[in-house]
Subunit: 314 residues, 2 copies
């Protein structure tokens, strides 16, 4: 999908430089980021080889994630026979990370669901839209989903504005984003099962006096999955990108066990509730997970949006 | 010194790009690397401001050190109000780290004394030049110093060849290197006191049966301090750089206490002798250090070479 997208859409006639720069945003520590980068390098190389009059460029790859990412592990995992120069770039992709027009290809897989923060009004105990007793917009009133959708719009506007500056005209940006079907409300997000198991664990702990009710009411996970409509509107509002490819994939995946769920969410849970409580939350998640009926209830439908954008020449 | 060197020698008429790229090689974890980079950015900015028809470029700074460097700490220490885009680049500066002609300024302070490895023949128990009972060339026979000098020449040739490819024509490279006066032999290196305290500690431990004699005989520190003559010959042999500035500074510094010495050498000592023995070596260093007479014997004369090279337009 990525390979075909590159071969069909990359304009190498325009690439004046002898360096082709790639950035993977939200790279974590590997190996997924290395596999993605290898695919991109292969696609670009194939495209260059079909043009006999172009020399193959050298590749510079930037691996980006938050400053708190374990870059030491990322660097230790660098493939030894990589065909590119590698660098780590710490910082939030909701802001600028690279000089103007310095990137030829941006990739971001399973990272753009993270918001810069949960919508503030949902964590405000004095607000009429405070998201009491829940940790997400799944199964919540519509105004909770709307607050998340608004935060997502702000974050994606910042993201697209930064990338519009950084990606050279004609450059590509590939994104794999967990999304939801068009025509559905945010609250109908298919991974609601996942958050419910944590939510129920926390409610039990409030009832047992182990966690204060206010603390639970103030906690909301900073994750959002858009519909294609929402994403399309944001890209069009930004104006600097055209759609080169878009595909929607629906797969049924088993509900992730505590270990997987913890890997993704621990840092947020731990920061809000403290280390000791976190241990208990995921122990309880595990117990509830084990009690789930085997079958459809233990599965969730995952909708993945693959979007390839092209930086317009404006 | 660095600031004046940049203002007097940087050719910004030739800089066609809107990005000015800087690399600090052997950066460690800060704050020295950030201070150096700030000085370079300031010097380049001053130079640009004297030319009213040039827009100030954006700055991209690459922080390089071995993969085993603590990049997580480096990134956590990034100045929050920095006027540049920052990236970490893991790998040895004895090889290629960046694409061709992609750097405008390279800086390396107190890092180029590290060899890629100690001369192999000195650690070979069957070799007639095996450096028995010593851990360095300080106070050693001339052939030991020569073996170190040869290894340094090979490493600097690799270093200069890699930088000649990476630095754009007209770009600058500033190096601060612990050296020794012209006309002296390697064995007259002024920091010999430092290595002797470790050497004596190890010899005591061999005599007490705590370390095998062979293990000591096979250990040599991978550090070398060149004379200006040596460096000049290597730069001229490479041929891609001209000397823009060269200054020699001599200062008398107190012999470093165990803590400082350990910070620099622990990884090598630990890798060869093992963690438990390392603890003892530096404890013994500390005891010997405390017994030193106060005065000249506890000082060493440090010779610092400041060299500014300019990448020729060939």
């Amino acid at each position: 999908m990525l390979l075909r997208g590159i071969i069909e859409n990359l304009d190498i006639e325009q690439a004046s430089s002898s360096v082709f720069t790639i950035a993977d945003l939200g790279c974590s520590t590997g190996p997924n980021t290395f596999i993605a980068v290898e695919n991109i390098v292969e696609g670009v190389t194939q495209k260059y080889k079909t043009k006999s009059n172009s020399n193959l460029p050298e590749f510079q790859v930037y691996f980006n994630d938050h400053t708190s990412n374990d870059f030491n592990t990322l660097f230790a995992n660098f493939p030894s026979n990589r065909g590119y120069f590698g660098a780590g770039v710490p910082g939030s992709f909701h802001g600028r990370l690279f000089p103007k027009s310095s990137l030829n290809f941006v990739h971001s897989a399973s990272a753009l669901q993270w918001l810069s923060r949960a919508p503030q009004e949902l964590s405000d105990l004095n607000s009429c839209v405070c998201n009491r007793g829940r940790i997400h917009y799944a199964n919540a009133p519509n105004e909770v989903g709307e607050a998340y959708s608004n935060q997502y719009a702000m974050d994606m506007e910042s993201f697209l504005a930064a990338r519009a500056e950084e990606i050279a005209p004609g450059g590509l940006m590939a994104m794999i984003i967990p999304g939801r079907p068009d025509g559905t409300l945010p609250s109908q997000f298919s991974l609601s099962h996942l958050f419910c198991l944590i939510e129920y664990s926390l409610i039990d702990m409030v009832n047992e006096g182990l966690v204060s009710k206010d603390k639970l009411d103030m906690f909301n996970l900073p994750m959002y999955s858009p519909s294609v409509e929402e994403l399309r509107a944001l890209v069009e509002k930004n104006g600097y990108f055209s759609f080169a490819e878009m595909e929607i994939h629906e797969t049924s995946i088993p509900l992730p066990p505590a270990r997987v769920c913890r890997a993704g969410l621990e840092s947020f849970v731990c920061k809000h509730f403290g280390t000791e409580i976190t241990e208990q939350i995921f122990d309880r998640y595990s117990a509830k997970f084990a009690e789930l009926p085997q079958g459809t209830a233990a599965h969730c439908s995952l909708i993945s949006l693959f979007i390839l954008l092209k930086r317009r020449r404006i």
